[in-house]
Symmetry: C2
Subunit: 238 residues, 2 copies
């Protein structure tokens, strides 16, 4: 499969500048494909609003010599996708992102474009939406999308911001409890718990876990496994 993906767990580590930690991986990804301009999808950015969100990301990318157009500023978003050099989907609320991607028709258009070889980058909600569905998001279901189905660019689910810690005094489910519930309802699919400051770099049928932290991998019927950074291509086999 012809695909070039950079799927990032989180935009920003606690206490750091916006998009600071993944900046060198983002820049290397742009350079590898000679990208001069990206099409940004800001639909997860509910609280900042699309304009402010696009401007913030544009500022970071400008320092790398890359221009940004935001899809919300186009009269014909599907055409904008079809003409894109690279597609970048930012984090925020996954339900809102998917609802708007479905309504505008760009869900289908992005999938087609990326499978034709157009590089794709996402962080947080933008990584989640690259999966078969959004069933492993951590976000609040603030709006109801037509479907939980997503881009299906990889055959497994990502749980971004995967955390081992549980907040003090919390009597609810831990992250691992939630993923165990997912596995009961969805026994046939891997869930990759992607810790902060890690990402998955996909080139065709090869995938690498990038960063200094291990990934926690879940599959119904097996104990969770800790996976070291490096080659994780086996997850791309259906």
């Amino acid at each position: 499969m012809n695909r070039h993906l950079l799927l990032i767990s989180n935009s920003t580590n606690a206490g750091e500048a916006y998009l600071a930690w993944p900046a060198k991986d983002i820049e290397a990804f742009f350079k590898r494909f000679g990208i001069k301009k990206v099409l940004f999808v800001p639909y997860a950015g509910v609280t900042p609003g699309y304009d402010a969100y696009a401007d913030k990301v544009a500022g970071v990318f400008a320092a790398m010599g890359v221009e940004l157009d935001s899809v919300h500023r186009f009269e014909h978003p599907i055409t904008a996708v079809q003409n894109a050099e690279c597609i970048v989907v930012g984090g925020g609320n996954t339900f809102h992102l998917v609802q708007q991607m479905q309504r505008t028709g760009i869900m289908k258009a992005i999938r087609e474009k990326v499978l034709q070889g157009c590089p794709y980058m996402g962080w947080s909600a933008g990584s989640n939406v690259a999966c078969p569905s959004i069933r492993t998001t951590n976000d609040m279901p603030i709006v109801q999308p037509d479907s939980f189905d997503a881009l299906n660019l990889v055959p497994f689910q990502i749980n971004p911001h995967y955390l081992d810690a549980n907040p003090a005094g919390h009597g609810g489910e831990t992250r691992e409890d939630r993923i165990r519930e997912f596995m009961v309802a969805n026994p046939d699919i891997y869930v990759a718990g992607l810790r902060e400051a890690t990402s998955l770099l996909v080139e065709g049928n090869r995938m690498e876990l990038v960063g200094n932290r291990r990934m926690r991998l879940f599959k119904a019927g097996s104990e969770p496994r800790e996976i070291e950074p490096g080659d994780v291509s086996f997850l791309l086999e259906k």
Copy 2:
């Protein structure tokens, strides 16, 4: 409106026995209405399975002299609801709960029964489902229900397990960030952040916040407010 509701934030405080902290409120609720048997809805219990979940809750209620029938054991769940003395909806995964309540037809049947005066008790997912929708759940969307609409027994949204703490090293959204996203998409509805070891007791058009902690109340256009335990009936006015 003729309604008798006990909406509990969480079944269990960290480190305590199952349903220990709300036991006296649950028992008082049963006594007030002379309840000898409840109909339990176990559909949020994905990981334990319905039988084990129903048995666990039955053990706690037996010590209060109250029998438990679980709706999953009835051939005709709607009839079971229509014949119930009291309906109890347990916590777990809200999406799974709502999906099964919709599929079995008990969503509509429970609403009708409760509005005829049948006492209703829920904790965690069971409190969330008493609201107009499940749009303020913290749970993972492991299955896709037909709709996010819920029982609509109160006109505001509950966010159960409301927490101020954020896990160490987390670069994702805080609980308050998530509720702020909700308010942008849903500006006309209150969200009650119900902290651990608190509950809402509703008698007709009167509602009381029970427990030793304040509730954090959100509404678009205003700063969040801290509400003391006691009368919170204003939230029942549409």
